[in-house]
Symmetry: D2
Subunit: 230 residues, 4 copies
């Protein structure tokens, strides 16, 4: 894999960053890393976030190594419980965090301007797509669209339906938040999650980060509605 100078820059920058990390966590203040190596990780939190480069969970929450076990996938989705022996990366991470690490909290962290949710809306709209994996994957949150755009039926007013899609594509916040809710609901389909939630040893959180304003919204545990935090 020989490469040109310019293409190489981002890699050299990452390597310089690692040098900085090593200076900081292995030489400057080695205690916390040493402890994490010797005692193993004991995170209290499983964070399920989006792969989007603008919403890195560690940066957003100013975390230190060891604080959060993190899953990141397109649109921060949790599929339903489906123990069929095939490859389920997100479910495997949830299982590891809950059963092995015994975290106390699972947070599903959605965000504004999510490309995956835009894909979901286009998919429902019926736009042709040419991808192998993104469409099936984001269809996990398909139910999140139902209250806003009912599935197409013979007698639907086509004009009105089109206008509604237009509106949602312009302002998909409600879908992004509804998709977080779907993922939180799906978490409860995992038996080992449900039993811990019911026993009071595990809490589920649905968050949505407004990339535009910097505000965080969260599902209020009483009303079950999303509300700005703080």
């Amino acid at each position: 894999m020989p490469h040109t100078r310019d293409q190489d820059v981002p890699i050299r920058q990452l390597l310089a960053g690692m040098k900085g990390f090593r200076a900081r966590y292995y030489e400057r203040r080695p205690d916390s890393m040493r402890q994490l190596v010797e005692e193993g990780q004991k995170p209290k939190i499983l964070m399920i976030g989006c792969s989007d480069s603008r919403v890195d969970p560690a940066l957003l929450t100013q975390a230190e190594p060891g604080e959060m076990f993190v899953v990141r996938n397109v649109a921060n989705l949790v599929p339903p419980y489906q123990p069929d022996g095939s490859y389920h990366g997100t479910s495997a991470a949830i299982e590891y965090a809950v059963r092995v690490l015994q975290v106390s909290h699972v947070i599903v962290l959605g965000h504004a301007l999510c490309g995956g949710i835009q894909g979901l809306i286009r998919l429902r709209k019926g736009e042709p797509d040419q991808n192998d994996f993104v469409s099936p994957w984001v269809s996990i949150a398909s139910a999140a669209l139902d209250p806003y755009i009912p599935p197409a039926q013979g007698d639907t007013d086509e004009e009105r339906r089109k206008a509604e899609f237009e509106r949602l594509q312009q302002k998909p916040d409600v879908i992004e938040r509804a998709a977080v809710r779907t993922s939180v609901d799906n978490l409860m389909t995992f038996p080992f999650v449900r039993e811990r939630v019911e026993a009071g040893t595990l809490e589920l959180h649905g968050w949505w980060f407004d990339l535009d304003s910097g505000d965080l919204w969260a599902i209020n545990s009483q009303t079950k509605m999303f509300e700005p935090v703080d």
Copy 2:
């Protein structure tokens, strides 16, 4: 979801962290975030890392928002190309990063002391497991074990085989690195990855972070062997 004081602490700390992020990226130095909101993300790198709380890719590389599109799953695995319409989170993220965002680099970032790789070794050893998802998931890297522990056969020397497992469980570095190699190989089974690699517009990298020493190893693009970087 009412909760006790103590259990609540990690959540309140994350929220305080978000307040700090907002102060820093929306008030103190708003320019870069504003640009990322208005122009969209344009990361050059797809990073496929482990969910382990100790090896956060953004912290490890001192990244800023917008620099890396990040997938995190147990043991930083890439499954083979399997476009069967079911839920493939990691493959969807690879597709989105390569086809939509057109990143120039994909990095598979493995690390020492990986719980997922330990699970893989136990699985091959034949230890009984009681999980629904972790074992099928880590079996993606099963081929990584072959050069070290051949699959069980009728005539194998049982004592020697046991000793070899013992040794690998004590020092699984070679398996962790071999698993990174398997994931990089699997990346090449994705047609849209392969064609870009062959066209020279995409590079694949295999890295392994030695959590104990802080050193980074990378696959040398000439020799194809892992070597310490720098």
Copy 3:
């Protein structure tokens, strides 16, 4: 200067920190430092802070290299204008910042739990001291005490005076803030400061950081009184 292992640790840690700084500002993101080297510094702010290790102005304000020209001395004091040709470090820095760098703001940043202000109170109280420089230096702010503890006179009620000192030593906030005000007043005795303030090209700020609560207080430019900010 050979030294034992233990005594050496803080130095080795600083050197590791510098390595991290170099990785970050010379390799990871070299642009801003390169610009500061090539174009010279152009800070908009002169910050006059205390030497206290807990109130570092750069950390407190999350500054980047190049943002603030910083003076730090015991109790963040500004002596009155005294151009007598002898060594005046703080005055030299003020002159350089205002006349050469042409900053737009001068901030005097005081703080709670200031050892220098405690020394000032003890000095007024008449406690014997055995220092060569600290007492003369902190006496710069002597006028700050006047409204609270009048200078000793023959007919003062000794008991009451003692109680008042006791009270001030327990809760010296008012003196710390009054000393900031004295320093801001002293800034106005510098002709080159006064003329710029009067011309509207320079602003003076008096701040006090409550180390206990983390709150910042500032002199309100209208009322001239200290008030919590935000």
Copy 4:
């Protein structure tokens, strides 16, 4: 002090930075600050640095609150011991750090591209200056110039002298480092410094930071010469 919008920006940014500091050190990870408030500061290091905005000691060394007692003045100078009862800010800070806080190390941190040292060279050259404080202050380091530019005498070759000044102004590194040495020497004129150094409980360090390359130089404790570190 009413002010226009634009002039106000740097101040609003500092206030946002303080909000971020508060979020980080009072809410996110309150333990270390709480301890510093309750137990008082116990820094092991006195750092005497320059006011230059590009060489902030805390940023350069990636320090945390509580680690260093810091003096900053123009050209990081230490005047000679002069206990005459007038205002000596730097000497007061040295006294407080050494006698009250009992630090184990004093570091004089010089740097490349120092405006104060340029002033010193111009002063020796005989260029007219119109400042009240900077010239007297930087003259503290006057002896640093002697080996390079002997004080003017009747019989000096004027041309050669001029060329030497030219050369030094182009490349003042040697003077910057010699001035650090002068300051370290001056530290030894303070009786309370000398006795601790001789008792082995205090160490003096002379450092010079090459702003251009990011390299650090230090006085080798054996050879007494400046050498690149690492």
